[in-house]
């Protein structure tokens, strides 16, 4: 089909016609922009025109002061320390290298840092100041003032640095501030201020917008060279809100000291009535103050090396970001799901022979010789796995998953603390989405004892315990309500009261009856009764017993314990996880006991009835049992 055919000719004519139409449309579009430009530039130009011949206005943003953070009794946790900082404006500096060399005689700035500043100055717009240092001594401020004529572009200005007064114990909860990582085109313009800090973790991040405050504004009249002629108006910045946490910092310190005796551990305590989290501890921890000051590359390398040898990142808050199989602490979930569904009742007996079988696969009880005939009370007290395998099998995974979610698993609680993990409440839909495989019957059994795919954070375990202890959908709170604010009471869980009562009675038996796995958490005589549940969650399929050789640290079981106290009239719900700690009763029980003693000793409502305040951690000993 070479050459010009009739078709081709018609096509070409059609194209020409349409191309001209398109050209006309494009011309019209440009015409519209021209009309708009004429309107903005010529017709309305006078509105934007400068006040006087060569003068105009400029807007300068004023950084607000960041709100402070207090504990529940008003102790200061995070404050602002007034200081001075030095910045350099590349366009005013001229020869920035020379200026920085002169500056180095007054302030300690290394060759590396100077190099980095020069590179950054080249990359960005020349009128934006660069931060040289933010901790100037008064002597340095004075000397810089003297040398000012030789240091063009260097600006010394007051600036606040964040001060974490409470130290290591509070770092995970309070979090820390850091530089703004990226600014989207329509973010708060305040974020573009050099040296502005925003919350990166913890409360500092979760409540960043409240803490940050609102920018103030100065309108200057400036001349054509950008020099300020006079100030036209000034709106002060509004400082950010002060925030009072629910944490009791004294308790937090004490629990941190106790947990520090374990290698990697976390604990959360919730006031059941109000949902207030009174302590949230994760070890190892770090000093948030270190993260605010400039960290030298060498110090950072040392820090990382130490983290590697010790195992466990001290920057990670295990209480909300550590995911653990809840193990036997999950059995209350399975039990309530089964009892509510009516597949078993409290009197149903199951005979445990040490293992059970499903589709040719053997599921073992922790007690190899078996628990013999168990009803619910005994099964929970002695943590019989076979009983709960049977319960899970009869109930089915969907009902178990639904109950787990009602009790607080598989979700985050957006009440101010950032970076929580949701964990996993597995069900067939989840497995289909995650692995694209069908659900297996055996996986229901594993989920029923809190193993397999189930993963939860220590915060979620404490929430579950609080919900069991109160029968209400307790939501953990991290911030005290403001004056005059009243929180709505938590909604009812909707589980029949007699079932909840039976679970609570069994949990009390775990600690207080013979044969219970949690006797190690029992308090001294005269103190309230504790109710709880042990958990020993497997990390690998190996167990020391079967392989006969001691396991490496990272293969050892996690030791878990959840508890509420007092058993009859619950006030606090507490969770403890000791990573790779071994048995729940043996390792986590004594820790729980010490922590509960500390929580009770500091409970404001209970204090008058405990004249003997020597129930601290010092005289607590951890005798293993169960």
């Amino acid at each position: 089909m070479f050459g010009i055919t009739r078709d081709d000719d018609a096509q070409r004519r059609g194209f020409s016609r349409r191309a001209l139409v398109l050209g006309a449309v494009q011309l019209a579009a440009f015409g519209a922009t021209a009309a708009k430009l004429y309107h903005v530039q010529v017709v309305e130009g006078w509105r934007y025109a400068p006040l006087a011949d060569e003068n105009r206005t400029s807007v300068q943003l004023l950084a607000p002061e960041r709100g402070r953070i207090f504990d529940r009794y008003g102790a200061l946790l995070a404050a602002n320390r007034e200081g001075f900082r030095a910045t350099i404006v590349p366009s005013l500096a001229g020869d920035i290298q020379l200026v920085l060399e002169r500056l180095a005689r007054v302030i300690a700035i290394t060759e590396d840092e100077r190099e980095r500043l020069i590179v950054r100055a080249r990359r960005q717009q020349p009128n934006i100041p660069l931060l040289v240092t933010h901790e100037l001594t008064f002597e340095q401020v004075a000397r810089l003032g003297l040398l000012a004529p030789q240091l063009p572009g260097v600006v010394v200005e007051p600036a606040a640095t964040r001060d974490y007064v409470a130290g290591e114990a509070l770092s995970h909860v309070v979090g820390h501030v850091g530089n703004v990582e990226r600014v989207a085109i329509d973010d708060d313009p305040l974020l573009r201020l050099p040296g502005l800090k925003v919350g990166r973790t913890g409360i500092e991040r979760g409540l960043d917008e409240r803490l940050r405050g609102r920018a103030g504004m100065i309108k200057h009249e400036i001349d054509a060279r950008g020099r300020i002629v006079r100030t036209l108006s000034r709106t002060e910045a509004q400082r950010g809100d002060d925030i009072a946490l629910t944490i009791d910092s004294g308790l937090q310190q004490a629990v941190t000291r106790r947990l520090a005796r374990e290698r990697l551990a976390a604990s959360v305590a919730i006031d059941i009535e109000s949902g207030d989290v009174v302590h949230m501890v994760s070890v190892p921890t770090h000093d948030a103050g270190d993260l605010v000051r400039r960290v030298s590359p060498r110090a950072w390398a040392q820090f990382q090396a130490r983290t590697q040898t010790q195992g466990g990142d001290p920057l990670v808050n295990r209480a909300i970001r550590g995911l653990y199989p809840p193990g036997s602490t999950f059995k209350m979930v399975t039990a309530l799901a089964a009892l509510e569904a009516g597949v078993m009742d409290l009197k149903t007996r199951i005979t445990c022979e040490g293992s059970t079988e499903l589709a040719g696969q053997v599921f073992r009880c922790w007690n190899r010789t078996g628990h013999k005939a168990c009803d619910f009370h005994r099964a929970l007290r002695e943590s019989c796995d076979c009983y709960f395998y049977e319960m899970a099998r009869l109930t089915g995974i969907e009902a178990i998953a639904a109950m787990a979610r009602r009790l607080g698993f598989g979700q985050t609680f957006e009440t101010g603390l950032a970076l929580q993990k949701a964990g996993v409440v597995p069900d067939p839909a989840w497995k289909r989405g995650r692995f694209n495989r069908g659900w297996l019957g055996g996986e229901t059994l594993l989920a029923g004892i809190g193993q397999g795919y189930v993963l939860a954070t220590p915060l979620q375990m404490a929430v579950m315990t609080a919900r069991l202890a109160s029968g209400r959908a307790v939501v953990p709170q991290f911030v005290r309500p403001g004056r005059g604010q009243v929180r709505a009471p938590f909604a009812d869980l909707g589980v029949r009261p007699e079932l909840i009562r039976a679970v609570r009675r069994a949990m009390s038996a775990v600690v207080n009856e013979d044969g219970g796995t949690g006797g190690t958490a029992r308090l001294d005589a005269g103190l309230p009764l504790v109710a709880g549940k042990t958990g020993t969650s497997q990390v690998t399929r190996l167990s020391a017993e079967r392989s006969g050789v001691p396991l490496r640290f990272e293969q050892r079981d996690h030791a878990l314990f959840v508890a509420f106290v007092p058993a009859e009239q619950p006030r606090y719900a507490v969770s403890v996880v000791v990573e790779h700690g071994g048995g729940g009763g043996a390792t986590a029980g004594p820790v729980m006991r010490d922590i509960i003693a500390e929580v009770l000793a500091r409970d404001p409502a209970a204090q008058p009835s405990y004249p003997d305040r020597a129930v601290g951690l010092s005289d607590a000993t951890g005798a293993g049992r169960g």
């Binding site: 078709d7 349409r18 010529v42 807007v59 366009s91 990226r182 329509d186 400036i222």
Partner: protein, 377 residues
Amino acid sequence: MARPQSTATQRTIGEKLLGVQWPLLGLLCLLATVGITAQVAAGGGSFSPWADKHALRFVLTLALVLAIACTPLQWWIDIAYPVYAIALLLLMLVPYFGIEALGARRWLGIGGVTFQPAELMKVALVLMLARYYQALRPDRVSSPLYVLVPLVLIALPVALTLKQPDLGTAVLFGLVGVTLMYLAGVTVFYFIGGALAAVWAAPLVWSRLHDYQRRRVEIFLDPDKDPLGAGYHIAQSKIALGSGGLSGRGFMQGTQSQLDFIPEKHTDFIFATLAEQWGFAGAMTLVALYVLVLALMITMALRCRSQFARLAIGGAGLIVFLYAFINIAMVTGIVPVVGVPLPLISYGGTSMTTIMVAVGIAMCAHVNRTTPVHRGG
């Protein structure tokens, strides 16, 4: 009128270069010069950090235009479908291997070099559609099945970029594709029907937009609502335009832009700094330059014998038009803020490469305007 085929296919490189549309290249050089001047002003009167690199990029891409102009047109027809397929594949890979920046995944990294598959797709889409209509018998252009095929091929990259999320580029793909279908001769009833369907579907799209995209549209409708927040860009750029007045404040005298009130003053908002320095007169001169470029490209397209060559030039012209119009319309507040650069003037290598490659292909079509092209499938 038509030259014998033999000379058309056997021309030397020298002859091909003589056949290049030099006035168009002259106009591009003029635009780039405006760009370099603007970059000097944005850099506070210094060639670094922007003007020098901008100039270097233009010279390199100009060489690329000439190199592409000397390639045989058949070569572009042959690779049109494969290039589209590759671009589509890369776009699909972005969500999985892409590098995230500014809240969106748009870049792919290959051995330290990052690029946006969306840029490749702009050229690939033009090539693919030109190739498609080259092969299609004219009497089938408007039959429903043959309208549906290109629509799907346009919708695929649109959907993929919407997911990134990159509203601006998705709109660009859609406009380029649909307009090329119009140029190819698809009957106007489809476009009228499509417009009605769009009006009907608008509320649905609105409900699926991201919050930040909705906010941009809302702020665009009423920038005074949030003078220090999202409306900041538009408000500041309007002040710059207004302060430019009829004749401008003169080179580097635009204090609004010199004092960093204008965000992105060397990239997306460079038109505001130009209009402040050179006023309405300068801005209109720049608009006139673009209009001249487009007029030249349309005349180039009219003189081509093959449908492929016509649509390739038409597509390249469209890309230039859409960039220029959307950018200027954004800065003056006619359309919402979307990140579209001003062709050959905004700082940035990616957009410059895309535009110059498109212009190069158009130039190649122009050089081979009298070469007959096989219609076959």
